[in-house]
């Protein structure tokens, strides 16, 4: 294909451009698959739990990238969906529904409903409004679960057991849980990748590029943006189901607005609108958190400094910086 000077700005989903990114993702997945043998060799079983947590957040970051990167919707309330996922595990298992897939289904249904209603209201607005309204709705969900005293309210709720898979308690094994999480990540990556390259994905990216043009050729942005918003929320809740199993504990802390901010940081760190980047960004952000956390109890201070400096000292912001880097190796 005749590639002329590729501008650093946004790029649409094109088979040719995606191929190297898919390769990068495959490399990542192979590396992920090699983690358990290495950890077993190191004889540090705790690491496998950290790795599982990273993969679960990678799913959430990738889901957020679908609307943030491809749809230009800065949702600051995505932690709510993580919360729906974690509480689906706690609530359903307390009613005897312990199957992982059923819990995921429950989380998806609740998330779809919440995303549909709050998305429909938020998407009537733009820019600053959209960010603040999604943040407020996220906070609404947060307060709802804080007041849920049957499940520990503010203090959270310890799970008596992990979810079952087809009636078996295989997930009690940390390595099995890790591989199940990895399988979900790979599966959802494939799904996201197909969505981005589909008719729907092209419309979504088109709306990001120029909503006026899209209306002039016959697309109403709202219904496509809302659909993407719902899909993204549902996927994020799946990550929540896995996180609850990893932590064997649920609490409103999973859905605080800081968590929503961290999800955005992950997406941006890896490069928005790339899917693979969101996965890498989740790995990088959480490892940075672990490493800084080992060095100082005030790791948040240094994480904050890092964020501010990154935005200030890249000429066109983090978004511009990433696009620049990508423009360079993409040439």
């Amino acid at each position: 294909m005749a590639e002329t000077t590729a501008p650093a700005a946004a790029r649409p989903a094109r088979a040719a451009a995606l191929a190297p990114r898919v390769k990068a993702a495959l490399v990542l997945f192979v590396l992920f698959a090699l983690v358990p043998p290495v950890v077993i060799a190191l004889d540090d079983p705790f690491l496998i739990l950290i790795a599982t947590r990273i993969l679960a957040y990678a799913i959430a970051a990738m889901a957020l990238d679908l609307i943030l990167g491809y749809g230009a919707m800065v949702s600051f309330g995505h932690a709510a969906y993580l919360g729906f996922g974690t509480y689906a595990v706690a609530i359903l298992s307390s009613y005897g529904v312990s199957d992982l897939l059923l819990q995921m289904l429950g989380a998806i249904l609740v998330s779809a409903l919440f995303a549909l209603v709050t998305g429909a209201i938020s998407l009537r607005t733009r820019g600053v409004y959209f960010i603040m309204i999604t943040l407020a709705f996220g906070q609404m969900a947060f307060f709802f679960f804080i007041s849920l005293s049957a499940y520990g309210g503010d203090d959270g709720y310890g799970l008596s057991q992990r979810s079952t898979l087809f009636g078996s308690r295989v997930l009690e094994n940390d390595v099995t849980l890790y591989y199940v999480t990895l399988a979900v990540l790979v599966g959802l990556f494939a799904l996201c990748h197909r969505i981005v390259g589909s008719r729907f994905g092209r419309v979504l990216t088109g709306i990001r590029e120029n909503p006026v043009r899209m209306e002039a050729i016959g697309f109403s942005p709202f219904r496509y943006q809302l659909t993407a918003f719902v899909i993204s929320g549902c996927m994020t809740s799946v990550a929540g189901v896995l996180l609850a199993n990893q932590a064997e504990f649920v609490s409103p802390a999973f859905m605080s607005w800081h968590r929503s901010g961290e999800l955005i940081v992950m997406v941006v760190l890896g490069g928005i609108g790339t899917l693979t980047g969101a996965i890498g960004g989740a790995v990088a952000a959480l490892l940075l958190e672990e490493v800084l956390g080992m060095m100082t109890e005030h790791w948040r201070l240094w994480f904050g400094v890092f964020l501010v400096l990154m935005v200030l000292f890249s000429p066109r912001g983090i978004t511009g910086l990433v696009a620049q880097l990508r423009g360079r190796d993409g040439a």
Partner: protein, 251 residues
């Protein structure tokens, strides 16, 4: 029946009446040009016809159907397409993708999440035909942001064509295009004559008189004359209000 019928349209911004009792029609296959000095309210008129702005009163009918309250995307589905005076393309998309998306809007559901759209031959073929008609086929693989000004204007046209319109609204397609580019553009429009009904807003008098079957003159939001190019050229009122001014400019 007229394909497009504008019936007593009125629009004010505050105290400023930008469209005042405008009525006009476009007959099947006709090119109806609207000319007028800057600030005459041409773009506001197009915005109302295309659905971007809602008129205060009056009616717009497409093939006899009242579309005054219909949204812009729905009007496209009814066969009304427009090009913009200020280029509105998808800068990160290739030229082909820009056109293919316009085709997609009229062909099948866009709620398809799995099959890769890039390999949909039907979309790409139709998009190529639209690009070909607009004279942009050789740039199909280029990114829209890399196009020259003239090429952008042609992409505007191609995207409008790709929605398979019955009525085409062209908002100053020649703005900023000069020389050979302009000639090629006029030739492309002439080649399409009869296939669509066109409402053409244009500043380039030469092009208007070469292309149009009928011309309406818009001054301060009102239509002061409608007629064949020859009639308009001879109209004293038009000469005073508009053409004279043009000749002075040229002098």
């Amino acid at each position: 029946m007229s394909r497009l019928e504008i019936d007593h349209l009125d629009k004010s911004f505050g105290a400023l009446r930008v469209t005042e009792d405008v009525s006009l029609t476009a007959e099947p296959g006709e090119i109806h040009a609207i000319i007028g000095p800057n600030g005459a309210g041409k773009t506001t008129l197009i915005a109302q016809i295309s659905g971007q702005l809602r008129p205060d009163s009056g009616a717009i009918r497409l093939d006899g159907r009242d579309i005054t309250r219909t949204s812009m995307p729905e009007r496209v589905h009814l066969g009304l397409a427009r090009s913009f005076q200020i280029t509105q393309t998808l800068p990160g998309f290739t030229v082909l993708e820009n056109a293919a998306l316009a085709v997609q809007a009229r062909h099948g559901s866009s709620f398809r999440f799995w099959a890769p759209v890039a390999s949909e031959a039907a979309l790409n073929d139709a998009a190529m035909r639209a690009l070909d008609a607009a004279g942009l086929a050789d740039r199909a693989g280029a990114r829209a942001s890399a196009l020259s000004h003239g090429e952008h204007r042609r992409l505007e046209l191609a995207c409008a064509l790709a929605t398979e319109p019955g009525v085409l609204l062209l908002d100053e397609p020649l703005a900023g295009v000069g020389g050979e580019d302009a000639d090629a553009f006029v030739a492309a429009l002439r080649a399409m004559k009869g296939r669509f009904t066109m409402l053409l807003i244009e500043h380039d008098m030469d092009a208007v008189f070469r292309l149009a079957d009928r011309v309406s003159v818009l001054v301060y939001g009102r239509i002061i004359a409608t007629g064949t190019p020859a009639e308009i050229r001879a109209d004293a009122q038009v000469r005073a209000a508009y053409l004279g001014e043009e000749e002075e400019d040229a002098a």
